[in-house]
């Protein structure tokens, strides 16, 4: 359990300050990308693409874009913070302090989760201004935070196991991005062939998008209840995996 509360608070706030201090790199890009998507799909392509589940295409893709931003930011923050500390030799200084594996892991996860959540909340505001309905605001925010937390945990795990920026980019480009696209950002998975639909059913990003689509637009591919339960299970598993790996000291204690 957590007992070094001052240490835990110190590291968590440092992790949060770390990305806020470079907000041009960590907050602005997601906002700009979303605005570009809204512009391109809203202005240029809106009339050429038909509605999905009774929602205009421009609006239909917004929850997915929002979640993709949340996932990318949360993962990147925890992963890069951990890897950077490894490469800059600042990690050993942290590992010798009286912070437990749980306190260390949760601090890194909080850093990533807050970044994901801040990005998500800002983009939610932009989406709302662009006309996206928000059926249930509290549940929407809970879903954003849950997904942010899960992927920050996953990011921490990836960061701890990576030895170089190359490896990190490899995972980002060949795992996270494909899974995001296959999770139904731009389409309903009902449009996919049966085999691809089956694969989507084990993709956590599909449930993240499906949940958000439900809490905002009121439509979704999977039922809200099953998606939400899946997300809670996924958050628990990814947190346990990150904390356990930190506890084993793999690739950080020799």
């Amino acid at each position: 359990m957590i007992s070094n509360w001052v240490g835990f608070y110190t590291l968590s706030s440092k992790e949060v300050m770390r990305f806020f201090s470079v907000w041009r790199q960590t907050i602005i890009p997601g906002v700009v990308t979303t605005l570009l998507y809204i512009f391109v799909f809203g202005v240029a392509l809106e009339n050429r693409i038909s509605e999905i589940s009774g929602v205009s295409y421009k609006i239909y893709i917004l929850p997915g874009l929002l979640m993709m931003n949340v996932i990318t930011n949360a993962t990147a923050n925890a992963a890069s913070s951990m890897l950077q500390m490894k490469l800059l030799q600042t990690l050993p200084e942290l590992l010798i302090t009286p912070l437990s594996s749980l306190e260390l892991s949760l601090s890194f996860i909080i850093g990533g989760a807050v970044r994901g959540f801040v990005n998500g909340a800002l983009i939610l505001l932009i989406c709302w201004l662009a006309g996206m309905p928000i059926n249930n605001l509290p549940l929407t925010l809970v879903a954003i935070f849950l997904v942010s937390w899960s992927f920050a945990s996953l990011g921490l795990l990836i960061g701890q196991l990576s030895d170089s920026w190359d490896q990190l980019a490899l995972i980002q480009n060949f795992v996270i991005t494909p899974f995001s696209f296959l999770g139904g950002i731009f389409y309903s998975i009902k449009m996919l062939p049966a085999w691809a639909m089956t694969i989507s059913l084990v993709n956590p990003i599909f449930y993240a998008i499906s949940t958000l689509r439900y809490t905002t637009l009121g439509v979704s591919d999977a039922s809200f209840k099953s998606s939400f339960i899946f997300l809670i299970i996924f958050a628990t598993l990814s947190t346990v995996a990150a904390v356990r790996t930190m506890h084993t000291g793999k690739k950080i204690r020799f």
Binding site: N4, G7, M17, Q89, L94, I96, R253
Partner: protein, 308 residues
């Protein structure tokens, strides 16, 4: 043992098939200044990292002030401050902020840390640089920040891994003075170095480590006395053909008017030698007592120089 600051019991560390450390036992008393000496790759850093739990031992145990570093990790780690050999390079935050974070990890709130951080910044000549980020600082300053970080939570035990590596002579002397002051204030200090003069000047006891083993440990004085090289060099006034015979009890090495005698007890043997020479009417031009250094001790024990 209650009066031990650091206790290492039968430490082994194996990487793949190679032992970096094999069977080190080390007991450092509270308040002692102990030097761990050895060439690069001898196992010094592995030993130190095992104390701070950065290295997971293959076998053995480490205790800090009587508490196990694994089962009592919070207590043990809170009592250790380490200035590592590698300079860290956190470029997001200014120096002062980094020290506040460091204090925080040890459970010290910003309010409680302020006085100590101001004191350390002043003491190490960093106060005017407190708002600078690491990348704006010189290597010497970064080294001082490493030491400041190690001290911020006022630990009882200070571990310094090559603290003066790559710093200029003036700063090295300043750091030595500060380390002496810390030691006089009661801190237990473990220093690794391959600068012989540093160990000779600061340490009460020295352990020499080579090939992952502690090959000898004693006070600097006793270690030097172990070496036969402690000698006496006498230059005579002119050449005396019977000199070898006169000094036969001391096995002299004679080169014209230069006489060298190797002895473990130069202070006791010198008067006897001078008496012998006077009795035989040998004039003396000068007498030198070149002292053995830890370098000689290492050479004597391993057949190699320490910095090879």
């Amino acid at each position: 043992m209650k009066d031990l600051g650091i206790e290492i019991i039968n430490l082994h560390k194996k990487y793949d098939d190679v032992y970096a450390v094999q069977g080190i036992n080390l007991s450092i008393k509270k308040g002692e200044f102990y030097g761990l000496l050895g060439p690069n790759g001898a196992g010094k850093s592995t030993t130190i990292n095992a104390i701070t739990s950065l290295v997971k031992p293959t076998a053995g145990q480490v205790k800090i002030l009587g508490k196990d570093i694994v089962s009592d990790f919070r207590y043990a780690r809170s009592q250790i401050g380490i200035a590592s050999q590698e300079l860290s390079n956190d470029f997001f935050f200014p120096v002062e902020e980094l020290l506040y974070y460091q204090a925080g990890y040890y459970g010290i709130t910003r309010k409680n840390a302020k006085q100590r951080i101001d004191y350390i910044l002043n003491k190490l000549g960093l106060y005017e640089h407190r708002n600078k980020k690491m990348r704006m600082l010189s290597g010497g300053m970064k080294r001082r920040i490493q030491i400041a970080k190690a001290l911020v939570h006022d630990p009882q035990i200070l571990i310094l891994d090559e603290p003066t590596a790559g710093v200029d002579v003036e700063l090295r002397h300043d750091l030595w003075e500060y380390l002496k002051e810390l030691h006089n204030g009661g801190k237990t200090i473990l220093l690794t170095t391959h600068y012989i003069d540093e160990a000779e000047l600061l340490c009460e006891r020295v352990g020499i480590i080579d090939g992952g083993k502690l090959i000898v440990e004693d006070t600097v004085k006793n270690l030097k006395n172990m070496v036969n090289k402690s000698g006496i060099v006498i230059h005579t006034k002119g050449n005396f053909p019977n000199l070898k015979d006169t000094l036969k009890d001391f096995n002299p090495i004679i080169d014209q008017n230069r006489v060298e005698i190797l002895t473990k007890k130069p202070n006791l043997d010198l008067p006897k030698i001078i008496l012998k020479l006077s009795e035989n009417n040998v004039g003396i031009e000068d007498v030198q007592l070149p002292k053995a250094s830890l370098e000689d001790v290492f050479l004597d024990l391993t057949g190699r120089k320490i910095n090879d």
